[in-house]
């Protein structure tokens, strides 16, 4: 087990390094300096500005300074908003994005698993078809389309929920709904197919023969095994939700990470772009790593000496 964790940890660190370096290389090769647009600045002002942000140093020094800033988790000040550091922006934006992401994944998990179980228990009946129809629709309708439709119907036409921003629980409903539908559909389909497989196994028959209550068979015996594939894709799903929230945050004017990221790209605000990319990728990669570890603990088939190499 320790070897498994260590191996995953090494891969994770290497991935992080690749992303950090990649971000740096890409940012350096971007045409256009962040100071170009300022009409008031003359040559000397520009030089001083570049000096202040270390843009005049040779490339490898810049890279080392950058690595140091990443390791010490200090991304420096924003170029466009001089009073703000990147850490300030992250500190303000990230909790909101994380809140949205966590609520969404919980909603998606609960509704998806319920839908999947219902469909499997009523295999080839109305409920099954209805649940799978919902699931296919959920995968097919892009979240930004769903979001606009929801705004138009539920908040503009019917006025049930607020149109935008992020203040109370009722503000959360629409963004979470728009964001959770896709993952819910994926979870529902996966739960249904593994549930169907598990329900035909002998130990389920055995549990029935013993006279266990049906809900107990489902929850304690079947679900435990049926949920393994769901655990496997949890990491990817979470990454999808967190990056998907970029566009949802835009539509609903939620002041999360997505807003700062897109803004910083449009303004060529290098420290903010690098900071958000590195921070966000690290967060997502660490989540993937944790899911991997959880999977290793849950699934007894993954053992220390995994010779297959995968």
């Amino acid at each position: 087990m320790l070897k498994y964790i260590l191996k995953k940890l090494l891969i994770m660190l290497f991935t992080l390094w690749i992303i950090i370096t990649l971000t740096f290389v890409l940012m350096v090769s971007v045409p256009g300096s962040p100071f170009n647009s300022e009409s008031s600045s003359n040559e000397i002002v520009q030089q001083n500005l570049e000096k202040h942000y270390n843009l005049d140093k040779p490339m490898h020094i810049q890279y080392l300074l950058y690595l140091k800033s990443v390791v010490t988790f200090d991304f420096g000040p924003s170029i466009k908003q001089p009073n703000q550091t990147v850490n300030d922006l992250l500190g303000r934006g990230f909790p909101i994005s994380a809140e949205l992401g966590i609520v969404t994944i919980i909603v998606a998990l609960i509704s998806g698993i319920t839908l999947g179980i219902l469909a499997a228990l009523r295999h080839n009946r109305i409920i099954d078809y209805a649940a799978m129809a919902i699931a296919v629709l959920g995968i097919s309708i892009p979240n930004f389309i769903l979001a606009t439709l929801l705004i138009q119907q539920l908040s503009v036409n019917w006025g049930i929920f607020p149109v935008a921003t992020w203040k109370s629980w009722s503000h959360m409903v629409l963004p979470v709904l728009a964001l959770a539908t896709g993952p819910m559909a994926i979870i529902a389909r996966l739960t249904r197919s593994t549930m169907l497989e598990v329900l035909t196994q002998d130990y389920i028959k055995m549990a029935r023969a013993k006279g266990l209550a049906p809900w107990k068979i489902i929850v304690k015996h079947a679900l435990r095994n049926a949920l393994m594939p769901v655990v496997t894709i949890m990491g990817t799903l979470f990454v999808g939700i967190m990056t998907g929230s970029f566009v949802i945050e835009q539509i609903f004017a939620i002041p999360g990470m997505g807003k700062y990221f897109v803004e910083s790209i449009n303004h060529r605000d290098f420290p903010v772009i690098m900071g958000t990319t590195v921070f966000y990728s690290s967060f997502l990669i660490i989540m993937l790593f944790l899911v991997d570890i959880a999977y290793g603990i849950l699934d007894p088939r993954i053992k220390v000496n995994n010779k297959e190499g995968d």
């Binding site: 995968i139 097919s140 389309i145 790209i265 997502l284």
Partner: protein, 317 residues
């Protein structure tokens, strides 16, 4: 053959030996098959054509391809230029799908958008398949250290959130169709490579591969002729599922303003352009791009599901 009258004293136990005569062997009769044999592909097609949902997806895709090619040509209007005085016309005989905020014909723009979506989808799938087959084929076939290194690289790429890479690349290379396709495939081929590798690892242990090795066939030929044709099923399914996710990604990026931008027509751009319009009741500007993008993704998804069932040898009857 004459039929013998069975004497009453003969029972099951004492049938005389001379009653048993060897049946004449008929060489032609022996080898004949009762029914024509079904090839893998024929059988898969037979099962797919019974799946009405998947078939309706296929039919829709064919129609969409047709309209993407001929729709803009058939229409009398230009996709990217409009008449401002004709702003927000509801669907009518002249403008079947109405007009948008700049007086452009939504019908023409919808099929322009279909062109872009399908182009991005098919290109991404094609590039993914090419890289994935080469990478996964070599990795799975060679095994050992080669496989280990190649899989580690895949694992690292798999960990990188693709959307961040896409956005970074778009910032550096500037938004264009090619950039979107490059950005999507940089990390997109990883899933395909994993599937090919899994297939190859399974098939390479079969006897017929051992036989071709014994004949001294070159490795590249074994992979090309012996392994790949037999792992085509999962590859095709994965391709069918890559297309909708690429279409989604293009629309998504164009929607947040990082992909194709107005006045060019892409479903994402059209949806973004109409964000303000739906609040004032001009529903058609959003409805048509939204409807077609959802239906396209639906069609590819159900077709992929259907193919998965049809191409799975375990489900073969």
């Amino acid at each position: 053959m004459e039929i013998k009258q069975v004497p009453p004293q003969v029972t099951k136990e004492n049938i005389p030996d001379e009653w048993f005569t060897p049946r004449e062997k008929n060489k032609n009769e022996q080898e004949r098959l009762a029914r024509p044999s079904l090839s893998y592909w024929k059988d898969a097609w037979r099962r797919l054509s019974k799946n009405y949902l998947a078939m309706s997806g296929l039919v829709f895709i064919v129609i969409l391809i047709f309209m993407a090619i001929f729709g803009p040509i058939l229409s009398p209007y230009e996709a990217s230029t409009g008449v401002l005085s004709m702003q927000y016309q509801p669907p009518s005989a002249e403008h079947w799908f109405g007009t948008d905020n700049a007086g452009r014909d939504v019908f023409t723009r919808t099929w322009e958008g279909a062109r872009i979506s399908l182009f991005v989808g098919f290109m991404a799938a094609l590039i993914d398949v090419t890289i994935g087959i080469i990478w996964g084929g070599i990795s799975g076939y060679k095994g050992g250290r080669t496989d280990n290194v190649m899989m580690r690289i895949i694992e690292i790429l798999y960990g990188i959130p693709y959307l961040l890479v896409v956005i970074l690349l778009l910032v550096v290379l500037g938004p264009s169709l090619m950039t979107i396709i490059i950005a999507l495939t940089v990390t997109g081929w990883v899933g395909m490579a994993r599937i090919v590798r899994g297939q190859v690892m399974q098939i390479k242990n079969y006897e017929y591969i051992l036989a071709s090795k014994a004949f001294g066939t070159k490795t590249s030929r074994i992979i090309r002729r012996g392994l790949l044709p037999n792992s085509m099923g999962p590859i095709i399914v994965q391709m069918t599922l890559t297309v909708p996710s690429a279409i989604f990604a293009e629309a998504f990026l164009s929607f947040i303003g990082l992909g194709i931008s107005s006045p060019n027509a892409s479903w994402g751009v059209m949806a973004n352009d109409s964000l303000g319009a739906i609040l004032s009741g001009n529903w058609w500007t959003l409805f048509f791009p939204a409807f077609f993008i959802s239906l396209t993704m639906f069609a590819f998804n159900v077709l992929g599901d259907g193919l998965q069932d049809a191409l799975d040898p375990k489900l073969r009857k």
